[in-house]
Amino acid sequence: MPVVEADPDELRRLTGHTEKSDDELKDDLFALGLEFEGETPEGDFELEFAPDRLDRLSVTGIARSLRYQYGDERGVYVPDTASPEWTIQVEDSVPDSRPYVSGAVVRDVNLSREALDALIQLQEKLHATMGRGRAKGAIGIHDVTMLRGEPMYAVGESGDAGEATGKKVTYRGVEPDGDTFVALDDDAERTPAGVLESHPTGQEYADLVEGEERYPAIYDDIGLFSFPPVINSRRTEVTTDSRDLFVELTGTDQWTLDKMCAIVCYALDARGGQIEDVTVEYPGRTVVRPDFEVREKRVAHERIETTLGIELDPEATVDYFERAGLDAEIIGLDGGTGYEVSVPPYRTDVLHAVDLVDDVGRAYGFNELVPRYPDVSTVGGRSESSRFERALRSRLVGLGFEDLLNFHMTNKAENYERMRVTEGADILGGGEAATIAEPYSEDYTMLRTWVLPSLLMVLENNTHREYPQDLSEVGFAAEVEESLETKVAERQSVGGVLARHDASYEDAKARLQALVAGFDAELETPATEHPSFIDGRVADVVIDGESVGVIGEIHPAVLVEHDLEVPVVGFEFSADALAE
């Protein structure tokens, strides 16, 4: 879960509760669902947050939630917006992979060092979450005073250009080497392709645009000032002296961009900023942004009572909605009482009535609810295979085995080569491996096809421990089987090894006999060949007439390969051979 940094002093200031101690703040934040993880060297709180409330990615957003929780603020708040002066014009040349745009202008923002850092943190966290690593949406923030918009003119009645009606920037596609600009934290003019190659940020996000014929770029009258989703120009860099900001967003989904834009606007509004609309001109349609639409959703009163398990007054319920930052109106719904609830635009998580119930619960305080054991009667039980396995393990333990629980993931060297087995051979352990596409490491690249290699590895890791070592495992093994639904045949396999200075075939056979006899099955062990075992000292395990495994003395080459200095005898067979 991601972590956001918040200065507790800022929280105290922004909520107007300077009397709160650090511990009190932590408790209040915990009730909101923000868990304290630690402190930065500067004394900021590190808070683990959940990705349903992305408005809490900034300290202003957290402060707003706290103010609602304290009851100092209630109901929906939407900032006023001024009418648009700027237009973002989207040209046909924009790459198909990144067609959408959103944005806003924010004026008179107070940007202290802390506020600017918080803004950058918000931007980065939005990129990482909703923005899906900038692939789905990317935000560029610029100093408006460094932009020179292309003048736009109203067309006069005679068809000539009339008076200037506004300024525009254009979002277009540019050839990889089609133009140059100086990027942030850079000192030379580079082409977009050059930035991808030489600039650290360019290298990091290169794979989001590489392979396209044209790269996304935003231009003003001077030139290229934004190369989304990669980097801004140095020319429009935002500093603590900036007061008027131009916010642009580009990406693959309009709704996602609009929500990210709304969250940024709310954060800047909390810093004294005045939001100003921008016009977005797509080829064929025009929209105004930011989108501060307040949506209405309805929920039945009964549903709230049932889900929370308490009785509530409608008036009290309206109060809880308002304390969650929503507005609610009591209505008739489905023959009973209900609520029409207004949801502000920074809420990305309200998809269904249940989300409204959750808000009421949080405002009420879930820890105020008294737990009760439900009056629901059901009969419990283990599955048959679970009961069988327990009996099988019990018998093995009774025969003196140390019951093991080994990893299911392994690699080809361990599973095949070190056992002198070839993948695909028609012998125990030779089955085709189910392999992992992007393994964590080369030690864990496939599912094991049999259990004996795991037992030998445990022997290998424990040569400093007292002998005799009698190890067993009733465990998962799998191999590819195309005819099945999941194309992998999964089974429980029983394996046992006896390691001691005088281990002999007879020792293993004695244990196997006792094990099989306990399940009232017939055991035969006709001679066979298997490369992991000594020729002439290995047999098929045949239970009730079916060949299900192998038993024998492990081949010295295998022992030496595993750094073992004592002989080892062992067996393995499919567990369900003994099940009824």
Binding site: L32, V354, V397, D403
Partner: protein
């Protein structure tokens, strides 16, 4: 008695060897014989000494005062007094060794230290230093005189241990008895079948054993400690009315994630977190009605004001095969009716199965671990029922004072992280994740009733209860079998 001699006292251990009996038996026999006047038992204390670490250092480098003397000679302190600083510098002594050297220098007659100057008495051979010689002797296994040993012990250069050695010799009466022939049967070492058959047991006297002594180690067969915990959890859940689920480890992403209302571009669904398979790669077919219903939920939500995700949907991705990242795929298979037929409320189901996460492998994380998963279906369930159910579960493991922190999962709402007090440290720690399944998940599966669910890693529960610190000890091939052998049985 036959092994003992009248001529000389012999240690009991030697006699026991000669007689072929255990030392404990011989000791017991000796005291008994002494009380009957056949043996004399002598006790003496044997001291043995061994060098401490400091002692070893001086054995190699030389005693500090000796080094000081040699440095002093080198600075011609036998002719004139030399400033101390110069001599100390020469000697290479540092820190506490300087004080040690100075405090022993004069005492042993190497010279004098006065007003910051040092003199050396000429003509002393450092090889004659008794203490150094004693150190060397002890290191070689010899036994120097007691005074020196005390001095070395006081300086902390050796450790002296004592043990009691008993030796016996025959008395006159004993020697006579041996000549006449002692009946061995009088003191029986062991009850034998023959004695039982002949009735000889009636007159036999069994020698006393040293019953307090430790016996040699027995290594029993043993259930794996984590399996044992799993069985305990199953006992508790079965006792609370839960039925066990089963299902595949390799499954389609459809059942692992899509049916759980996880958007296809959710960060956890990329290869950084999940183990997609390269062979085989995808399931051939998914039930088309179910796919349509799930796709519709993703795109449009469910219910009158429902909203879906603004995320891409691709059926090919849904069919991709992976190792399940959680066992909630089993819950999906059961709730959808595929695993156990259509389910009507009330139902309680659980599973304890392997889940696989491409996370990391260290002292607190594994790539594959056991997830405890449980859910309850009933007509009307509330958050209070959820709290009551899972509080009861933890109570049975001694974890009380469970707190519910509001949380978020894509497939439950409301959701809670559970925190409980550690049974030993009293610290508040995370012990599980829970919530009410969302309608967007249940409706496509055909469920109209409420379902609440909860999960927790089995290893976490075990480590809480037992205080184990490294997860690799309790699960997997990197285990130390001695840890497993010694793990306390838990019930």
């Amino acid at each position: 008695m036959e092994a003992a001699s009248a001529a000389e006292a012999q240690p009991i251990s030697e006699l026991a060897d000669a007689a072929g009996i255990a030392v404990e038996t011989a000791t017991g026999a000796a005291f008994e014989l002494e009380s009957e006047g056949y043996l004399d038992v002598h006790e003496h204390t044997e001291r043995s000494a061994s060098l401490t670490e400091e002692g070893e250092t001086y054995l190699d480098a030389g005693l500090p005062e000796v080094r000081l003397y040699e440095a002093a000679l080198g600075a011609d302190a036998d002719e004139d007094a030399v400033p101390m600083g110069e001599v100390i510098g020469r000697s290479g002594l540092e820190g506490p060794e300087v004080d040690i050297a100075l405090s022993n220098y004069a005492r042993k007659g190497y010279g004098a230290v006065d007003s910051g100057e040092i003199t050396a008495d000429p003509g002393i051979t450092t090889d004659d230093d008794a203490e150094a010689a004693a150190l060397a002797a002890i290191a070689a296994g010899g036994e120097p005189s007691e005074d020196i040993v005390d001095a070395l012990e006081r300086r902390g250069l050796i450790e002296v241990s004592e043990r009691t050695v008993r030796s016996v010799e025959l008395t006159e009466a004993g020697a006579e008895a041996v000549e006449e022939g002692v009946e061995a049967a009088a003191g029986a070492d062991r009850l034998t079948p023959e004695m039982l058959a002949t009735g000889a047991w009636e007159t036999a006297e069994f020698t006393e054993y040293n019953v307090e002594a430790d016996a040699s180690r027995d290594i029993p067969g043993k259930t794996h400690v984590l399996r044992e915990t799993a069985e305990n959890v199953k006992d508790v859940l079965v006792g609370m009315g839960f039925q066990e689920m089963e299902g595949p480890h390799v499954d389609a992403d459809f059942y692992i994630n899509d049916c759980l209302f996880m958007p296809q571009d959710h960060p956890a669904r990329n290869h950084w977190d999940r183990f997609a398979l390269s062979n085989p790669t995808e399931m051939d077919e998914l039930p088309s009605d179910l796919v349509d219903a799930v796709e519709s939920a993703h795109r449009n939500g469910v219910g009158a004001d429902g909203e879906g995700y603004h995320s891409p949907w691709d059926e090919d991705f849904a069919r991709a095969l992976a190792l399940r990242g959680h066992t909630t795929s089993l819950s999906v298979r059961y709730l959808s009716g595929l695993a156990a037929g259509e389910l009507e409320p009330p139902q309680r189901y659980f599973s304890i199965g392997k889940a696989y996460r491409n996370d990391t492998l260290d002292a607190t994380h594994l790539l594959e671990f056991f997830q405890i998963e449980g859910w309850v279906m009933a007509e009307d369930l509330s958050v209070r029922d959820l709290m009551g159910t899972f509080e009861e579960f933890y109570r049975q493991f001694g974890i009380t004072d469970v707190q519910f922190k509001p949380h978020y999962n894509p497939y439950t709402e409301p959701s809670f992280e559970l925190f409980g007090r550690h049974p030993e440290t009293g610290e508040l720690i995370e012990i599980g994740n829970s919530g009410m399944f969302r309608p967007e998940m249940l409706e496509p599966l055909g469920i109209e009733a409420d379902v609440m669910a909860w999960g927790l890693a089995l290893e976490r529960l075990l480590m809480l209860i037992t205080g184990a610190e490294d997860i690799r000890d309790v699960h997997g091939t990197l285990c130390d079998i001695e840890f497993l052998r010694n793990a306390e049985v838990n019930y």
